[in-house]
C-alpha cells in the first residue's frame, strides 16, 4: 500500500488535491483490530471546492496517465481500489483539516483522527458504522474530551446520548 500512498502524495504535490486523508474502514483499522475490507476511502479537498463530480476529473486523468484503471466507483492505484470522497459537510471538512500525520513505512500519509472517524460513523450510522463504533469504543485510544467537543460542535451530542454508546465510565 506504500506505493498507493506515494501516488496520493503525488496528487497533492501536483496541486490536484489540496489535502487528503485516509478514512473509512482502513482508517478504523489504524486504531483497532484489522477486519475485512476491500477499498481505501480517501477524503479529499480539491482546488475546486464546489461539490461537483467534475472536481475529480483532473485527478482521474492524472491517475489514468499513470496506468491506473477504473473499477466501478473506484480507481485502482497500485493494486488498491481507492474511492475519493470530497469533503461534503462541516464535520468532514474539519476531520480532513485535523487529520493526523503518520508514516507508512517511510512514506508520510494522513489518517483521520479516531474521534472524527467515530463522529462520522455516528453521523452516517449505517449498520456497519454502528458495529465499528462499538469496536472503536472497545479498542481505540480516544480523547474523550476532544470527541465530546466534536459531537457538540456538529450537533451530534443528542444522537450520541440516544445511541446507547458510552465509554463505560460516564
Amino acid at each position: 500500500m506504500e506505493k498507493t500512498i506515494k501516488i496520493l502524495n503525488e496528487l497533492e504535490s501536483q496541486g490536484l488535491l489540496d489535502r487528503y486523508a485516509i478514512g473509512g474502514a482502513m482508517a478504523a483499522a489504524f486504531y483497532m483490530e484489522p477486519s475485512l475490507t476491500y477499498d481505501l476511502d480517501v477524503f479529499i479537498a480539491t482546488p475546486q471546492t464546489a461539490g461537483s463530480i467534475m472536481m475529480l476529473s483532473p485527478i482521474y486523468e492524472f491517475l489514468r496517465s499513470c496506468g491506473c484503471v477504473e473499477a466501478g466507483e473506484h480507481i485502482v492505484i497500485e493494486g488498491v481500489p481507492v474511492q475519493f470522497l470530497p469533503v461534503h459537510n462541516p464535520l468532514t471538512v474539519e476531520a480532513l483539516r485535523e487529520a493526523r500525520e503518520i508514516l507508512y513505512r517511510e512514506t508520510p500519509a494522513r489518517v483521520l483522527r479516531a474521534e472524527h472517524l467515530m463522529a462520522i460513523m455516528l453521523q452516517t450510522y449505517r449498520p456497519k458504522d454502528k458495529v465499528r463504533l462499538t469496536q472503536m469504543l472497545d479498542q481505540a485510544q480516544v480523547d474523550k474530551r476532544y470527541f465530546t467537543e466534536i459531537l457538540e460542535r456538529h450537533g451530534l451530542a443528542t444522537k450520541w446520548a440516544e445511541s446507547g454508546n458510552s465509554f463505560g465510565v460516564e
Binding site: M1, M32, P34, S35, E78, G79, P81, Y104, D138, Q139
Partner: protein
C-alpha cells in the same frame, strides 16, 4: 436438547449455574478482549498485511461455493 415443554435439561441447567464455568467464561472473554486490543496495537503495515490475508481467505471460501468475490489486493512488493 432442551424443549419448550421440559425446559433446560438438568445437565445444561447445572452447567449454566456453575460458578466455575461462569469464571472460566469470564476469563475467556477477557482473553478475547485482550487479544483484540493487542491486535489493535499492531503497526499499521502489519494490519494491512492481515487485511490482505483476510481478503485471500474470503476469496477462497466464496469462490469454493461459487459466490462471486472481490479479488484480494494485488500489492506490488
Amino acid at each position: 436438547m432442551d424443549s419448550p415443554q421440559n425446559g433446560p435439561n438438568p445437565e445444561t441447567r447445572s452447567a449454566s449455574n456453575s460458578p466455575e464455568l461462569a469464571s472460566l467464561t469470564e476469563k475467556l472473554f477477557a482473553a478475547k478482549k485482550a487479544r483484540r486490543v493487542a491486535l489493535a496495537r499492531l503497526p499499521f503495515e502489519e494490519k494491512v498485511r492481515i487485511i490482505v490475508e483476510l481478503q485471500k481467505i474470503a476469496f477462497e471460501i466464496r469462490s469454493a461455493v461459487g459466490v462471486s468475490a472481490p479479488k484480494p489486493w494485488d500489492l506490488p512488493q
